[in-house]
Amino acid sequence: MMDKTPKQSAADTDFVLLNLEQEQLAEVRSRRLGRRHLRPYELALMWLLRVYLLFMVGVVIYQVYLAARGGK
């Protein structure tokens, strides 16, 4: 990704390193952070809320259908 970026001058580099923390640099930010281990209850909560969302989207679609049928 960063290889496509035009290179900046040495003066630019000095200016950037003076004013930005290293972790703010685009190249550093583009590096992936490691995965974290999800505990079973966290995973269960994620799935529960995912099912809740899918179910509720179905309810909203049904509500829109009812409203359309009722000529709202």
């Binding site: 703010q24 952070l33 974290r36 995912r50 989207v57």
Partner: protein, 452 residues
């Protein structure tokens, strides 16, 4: 160590941070104010951005349906909820220098990352449609044809991005967002009963009357008008793009609180301005396009109605800008493409491409004639509320992830409040679902508990 490569984006951000560093060197009130001026932005933008077309229409619908009462303090409460939630994104951004979408991808893996990205993309697209509806509705009051209003909104969106500089974009959009306060003079022109306003704010009364199902729809819509998933993604990414660090956290928090206070003023003003329509038994939910402002004309006069229409247009345009940018940030973070408003066009083709594609597609849909304006808006707000609990769970887990947050992990009080917000949102969603699937059961069991 290998030498780091420096990008154009870094140079622009370093210039912004250089100004902050110089302001920090000085002492006295003026330099503190200068520092505040340099560091505020994402919080005010996200809060005023969320006072968008659908939100203002939702507040207007609330005022015309229920007058001054329960909903005034309820709206204040929703903004307090928004402050708690959005403060976490400032902390996450300062601690990790990563956007929300990339943190979810990195920490929870692509499976959950894609779920959250799809939620955001769908929600943002639906919301963008309603923003253009608001622009169309506002401009139709002035006799501007729909196609011209939409083209003008797209032109303003393009102009705001022309500089390819985060700082300039932020200041231009902030100036536009402050026009949200146009609703305040409209409220004043409605000559509200301030005693009733004060009484409502402190007693939550009178409670709304009418059908429980309609009340629940408005309740959910007003929550969705204040806390939505795109806000999490936008504020975190914008805070990173602006370059705020751990040292700036206090200003980031102040920025968020100031934004919430300004946005609450706009929201309450919209309710108060439209409340006289309640006494006249005129519900905005039954109206279309220019009729919104026209209905207000007998109450607030021609100038007030014109301000209302302008405010609606502004709300739609500013949100078009912020929401399409939140989609572009998330796309860049997920696809690992450069994503910054400091990118020149040649380096950020994908970023700007997604931004414009989302806006263009939503704009095209709005040109379809005969869309049921207010109903679409209320439903989109409800969808935003329903999508919030899974988004908040990701936020909660990330903000408590000591490995990335260090000493900035959420304090216990913030966790309790977040848990309560999730519970309230899920409970409201379940009640809404019950009121649709089993309306008789809902009325029998919960009808007496709910206002209305």
């Amino acid at each position: 160590m290998r030498q780091l490569s420096i990008s154009h984006e870094d140079v622009d951000r370093a210039a912004d941070r250089g100004r902050v560093a110089r302001a920090r060197l000085r002492t006295g009130w003026s330099s503190r104010l200068r520092l505040l001026w340099l560091l505020v932005g994402p919080g005010i933008l996200v809060m005023l951005g969320e006072n968008d077309g659908p939100s203002m229409l939702s507040y207007a619908s609330t005022g015309s349906s229920y007058g001054i009462g329960f909903f005034l303090p309820f709206i204040v409460l929703t903004f307090l909820m928004a402050v708690v939630v959005q403060e976490m994104t400032v902390r996450l951004a300062s601690a990790t220098q990563r956007g929300h979408a990339e943190l979810i991808f990195d920490r929870f893996g692509p499976f959950w990352g894609w779920f959250s990205a799809i939620d955001l993309a769908v929600g943002n697209f639906l919301t963008l449609i309603t923003e253009f509806i608001a622009v169309r509705a506002g401009m139709s009051y002035f006799g501007v044809p729909a196609w011209l209003a939409i083209c003008a909104a797209l032109a303003i969106l393009s102009l705001a991005l022309l500089t390819h500089r985060y700082w300039t974009w932020e200041r231009v959009t902030l100036a536009g967002a402050l026009l949200n306060l146009l609703f305040v003079p409209v409220a004043l022109l409605a000559h509200p009963n301030w005693h009733a306003v004060g009484h409502a704010l402190f007693t939550w009364r009178p409670l709304p009357s009418g059908s429980s199902q309609q009340t629940l729809l408005i309740l959910l819509s007003d929550i969705g008008a204040t806390v939505t998933p795109w806000m999490l993604f936008f504020q975190q990414s914008a805070t990173v793009d602006k370059g705020l660090t751990r040292r700036d956290l206090g200003f980031g928090r102040l920025d968020t609180v100031a934004g919430a206070a300004l946005a609450a003023c706009g929201a309450l003003a919209a309710v108060i301005a439209t409340a006289p329509l309640y006494a006249r038994h005129l519900n905005l939910a039954s109206l279309r396009e220019a009729q919104f402002a026209q209905a207000l004309r007998p109450v607030v006069g021609s100038a007030g109605a014109a301000l209302f229409a302008l405010g609606l247009t502004e709300a739609g345009i500013v949100a078009c800008i912020t929401i399409s940018i939140s989609s572009a940030y998330a796309f860049g973070e997920v696809a690992r493409r450069p994503h910054s408003l400091n990118l020149p066009l040649r380096e950020g083709k994908a970023f700007y491409g997604v931004l414009f594609f989302c806006a263009l597609a939503a704009a095209a849909i709005v040109l379809i004639p005969g869309l049921p304006l207010v109903y679409v808006v209320l439903i989109v707000n409800v969808i935003a509320v329903l999508a919030m609990p899974p988004a908040l769970l990701f936020l909660y887990l990330l903000a408590n992830d000591r490995e990335i947050m260090g000493d900035l992990v959420s304090p216990p009080l913030a966790n309790v409040v977040t848990g309560l917000v999730v519970l309230v949102l899920v409970a409201a969603g379940v009640l809404f679902g019950l009121s649709i699937i089993a309306p008789h059961f809902f009325v029998r069991v919960f009808g007496h508990l709910l206002p209305g």
